[in-house]
């Protein structure tokens, strides 16, 4: 497999939750790819299906009520939707690992950090206790936790939020995975710690060449870390492309509305309206009833097919993106650097 072959290919993914009130199609036909060594950001409002999309990959969501109803997820040649629970268990943590949003609750309160790290190591590697311990110390050291060997005996409540997230990252890296799925890993942390964690992830990515699927609603973070961006709305992909193209020439009105919400862009009111009812999504484009540029055609048929626009793999699902597009984002203060210019990015985004 060469560097450019996708490590993960998600095609036409549909994930539904069967509830008493009806079926919620949380992810409703989503495609994206992640290559080795690259960071792909899933962006969108709360409830747009970002978390469900990434929990679908190793089927972490609760089953039932959740279910992948259609689509394919190919990871390094393996079709994950056909895998048994047993096979998925072997892949989770070993080849695909997760870091979650809230480190406060993500560690088991009754076990030491060391116990939880050793569990991650020993589940997938046939090593002696001493070797596993040494590895755990090394991992903690690598994610920037000082006095690592003493910290093994610490309980989660004795660490700060940032420290816990470092432990989570150490745990996720324990078996040198190919893919790291980070679901809003910095949202619950304060800004300076956010920057440190982002920098750590980038350093680790450079070191191990892992692919990162990064979920966030914070476009500042996207500018910081992403190579490519997938914009989700109500379970559908609205637009995708390189971070440069999406920020520079956002084609979907929803992307533009999101970018307008950035601090310093004037629009403090957010996007008017709210997400459509997930039980009964509207016909036509999912965004049409909140879209400032909507025309009658937008509210009929299905979500518009993807059209390629200027830029590498830059695609948009909008009938009228051409007429609506205005390159006003260049005026924003959060202009991303071109990939070649991007440096360590450890500085904060505001």
């Amino acid at each position: 497999m060469t560097q450019d072959d996708p490590l993960l290919t998600v095609e036409n993914l549909h994930t539904s939750f069967h509830t008493d009130d009806g079926t919620v199609n949380a992810v409703d036909g989503v495609d994206f790819t992640v290559r080795r060594g690259e960071t792909v950001c899933l962006v969108g409002e709360s409830g747009s299906g970002k978390t469900v999309a990434c929990e679908s990959i190793t089927q972490l969501f609760k089953r039932p009520p959740g279910e992948i109803t259609a689509g394919s997820i190919v990871f390094d040649g393996i079709e994950l939707t056909n895998c048994s629970e047993r096979e998925l268990t072997d892949i989770r943590g070993a080849r695909i690992s997760h870091v979650f949003q809230n480190p406060q609750n993500a560690l088991n309160p009754v076990y030491t950090i060391g116990w939880q790290l050793l569990e991650a190591i020993e589940l997938h590697q046939d090593v002696s206790r001493a070797a596993a311990r040494a590895e755990a110390v090394e991992l903690l050291d690598r994610v920037g936790i000082s006095e690592a060997s003493d910290r093994l005996e610490a309980y989660p409540h004795e660490l700060s939020g940032g420290m816990k997230q470092r432990v989570m990252i150490a745990m996720a890296l324990a078996c040198q995975p190919d893919l790291l799925i980070a679901d809003e890993p910095t949202t619950a942390l304060d800004v300076t710690i956010q920057a440190q964690i982002l920098r750590l992830l980038k350093d680790l990515q450079a070191e191990y060449g892992i692919g990162i699927l990064f979920v966030t609603h914070d476009l500042g973070v996207v500018a910081e870390i992403a190579d490519r961006v997938v914009v989700l709305y109500a379970g559908k992909v609205m637009e995708r492309g390189t971070v440069y193209d999406v920020f520079e020439t956002p084609c979907h009105p929803y992307t533009r509305a999101l970018l307008d919400c950035l601090p310093g862009r004037g629009s403090l009111g957010g996007i008017p309206g709210s997400l459509p009812d997930p039980m009964a999504p509207p016909a036509g484009c999912r965004f049409h009833d909140r879209c400032p540029d909507a025309v009658p055609d937008c509210s009929t048929g299905d979500q518009p097919a993807f059209e390629s626009v200027v830029g590498e793999d830059h695609e948009v699902s909008c009938l009228h993106y051409r007429t609506a597009a205005e390159p006003t984002v260049l005026e924003s203060g959060v202009e991303p650097r071109r990939p070649s210019e991007r440096t360590d990015g450890g500085d904060t985004h505001d």
Partner: protein, 322 residues
Amino acid sequence: MAVYILRRITWAIVASLIVLSLTFLLLYFTPDTQLTELQFQAAQAGNDPERVGEAYERYHGLDQPIHVQYLEFMTNMVSLNWGWSETRSQPVTTALVEAIPYSMMYAVPSILLSTILGIGIGLYSATHQYTRGDYAATAFAFFGLSIPDFWFAIVLLVVFGGMLGWVPILFDTSVATVSYANVTQLLLPVTVLTLTSVASLMRYSRAEALEYVEAAFVKTAKAKGVSDRRILYRHIFRPASVPLATILVGDLVGIIFVASYLIEVVFGIPGLGTLSYRAIVNQDTALVVGTVLVPTFLTIIGNLVQDIAYTVLDPRIDYGDR
């Protein structure tokens, strides 16, 4: 940790002393039935009830000032000299020691069974929430909780002892502890007690485990590649065991305290419950005090064990200034 445990033990001792002091006060102000009886007999025989009363008080040290009586009471209690049972003509402690094994015979198997079944079914229910198995367990729990245990005991006795004749109706103390006959006669009491206590324990463990089934750290464990079985034992049951430890202690004390009266009287088991019941009916004050103090001290010891278990089970509990 050692300091913490030492402090808990000190508190347990203080609590015991307070219980004993209150018992003393209650006894001090309660009219003595024995004395009334003696005075009545004396009056009938034409003697002076006043003189008999004085003699009785002198003999029992009741003419001493209150602090002297208090000290003597406490000394006797601590040295396990718990008085003389008039109705049984034996020391109270002897009566207790004879009765306790009969209570243990059905209480211990029942506590073990209900703990294992209760937690097991509760965990199953929590991980299979809203499935048929969960609904069946819930229905079973409501049955166990709502049915009065003494009534259920009588029905079982009528059906299995009377109509079918599978088990003896009268409890036979002459059979060996470990024998088939003893097992058959304990079968029904254990069943009744287990059914009623397993129901509540099951609901508690279901609720506790449910709190963790959806916890973020359980998802972390799953994302690490931990198998479902290991998640259940290590990541759900282990944190849930902390609050369950409290319920277990309450359960144990509850069984010995309350259920034993009804169960033992219905099945005719000469255990602590029957002993206490008879003592109350016959106004044998010393014996009543003895049979009430046993479960009281069990509660205090149970709480002590629970406090210590907490620190072992939950690292977040600080041993510091409490």
